[in-house]
Symmetry: C2
Subunit: 139 residues, 2 copies
C-alpha cells in the first residue's frame, strides 16, 4: 500500500480508463494527487500577445477540467487532491512526484490518441525512466 | 485489485526488494504466479555436450531456487504458485502472462546488477513494451 500516489491525466479516455483502480493501492490514511500539466506557449511572431494569453488560459482551463473529471472517478471517501501546473508533462510529473515524495505514480500506458512505435506513450516512457520509485502503467 | 499477478524474478536483490508488496494488490481469491526463466545454452564448439547439459541444469536449479526464495517472501495465506521455464526472459515473461491471462505483471525496475543507460532494466523495458495490460515497475 502507498501513502501518496500521483495520478497524472491528460484528459484522454486512456488516462481515465481504470486508473481509478489505484484507490485500492492507497493506504488508509493515504492521499491521491491528481495532476494535469498545461503546456506553456511562448510568443510567436505570427500571434499577438493577447492570442497567446488566451491560448495559455484555455490550456489551463482544460487542465483544470481534466483533474476535476478524474477526481470524480474516485471514491469520495478517499483523500484526493488536484494540481494544475504549466510545463513539460513528463518533467513536471516527475518533479511533483519527487517534491510530494509519492511512493507510486499511476499513469496510463497509452498517450492521448497517439500512434507510437511502441505500446506505451512518450510521457509514460519518460516518467518510468526518470522516476526512482514505483510506477504503475495502467492499460 | 487483480485476480492474477505475475511476478518474474531473476534472483537479484532488486527483484525481491519490496516486490512482496504486490500481495496487497491481489483480489481475495486471486493467484500470484512467480516465474524465473533459465537461459538455454546451445552447443558450442569448445564445450562438450556434457558440459552444456550440466550448465543448463545449473541454470534450471538456479531458477528453481529463485522462485522458491521469492515465494517465501509472500504471506503463506496467499495463493502463490511457481513456474520455471527455459527461454529468453522478457519474451517468456510476456508469453506466460498472456497464457495465464494475468491482469498485472509486477517486475523490478532494475535488472541484475546491470549498469544501464536508463534507470530501468532491459527485461522490464521489453516487458512494458510488449505486454498489453498493467505493469507495476517496483523500485
Amino acid at each position: 500500500m502507498y501513502k501518496k500516489i500521483l495520478v497524472p491525466t491528460d484528459g484522454s479516455e486512456a488516462a481515465e480508463k481504470e486508473v481509478e483502480k489505484v484507490g485500492d493501492l492507497l493506504a488508509e490514511d493515504g492521499e491521491i494527487i491528481i495532476l494535469s500539466v498545461a503546456s506553456e506557449l511562448t510568443p510567436h511572431q505570427f500571434q499577438s500577445k493577447e492570442d497567446i494569453d488566451k491560448l495559455n488560459q484555455s490550456f489551463l482551463d482544460e487542465a483544470q477540467f481534466n483533474v476535476d473529471k478524474m477526481k470524480a472517478k474516485f471514491d469520495p471517501n478517499l483523500n484526493v487532491t488536484t494540481k494544475v501546473l504549466v510545463g513539460f508533462p513528463a518533467e513536471t510529473i516527475v518533479k511533483v512526484a519527487e517534491e510530494e515524495d509519492v511512493g507510486l505514480i499511476a499513469i496510463s500506458s497509452s498517450g492521448k490518441g497517439r500512434v507510437t512505435k511502441f505500446f506505451i506513450g512518450s510521457v509514460a516512457e519518460k516518467v518510468i525512466h526518470s522516476f526512482k520509485k514505483d510506477v504503475l502503467l495502467v492499460h
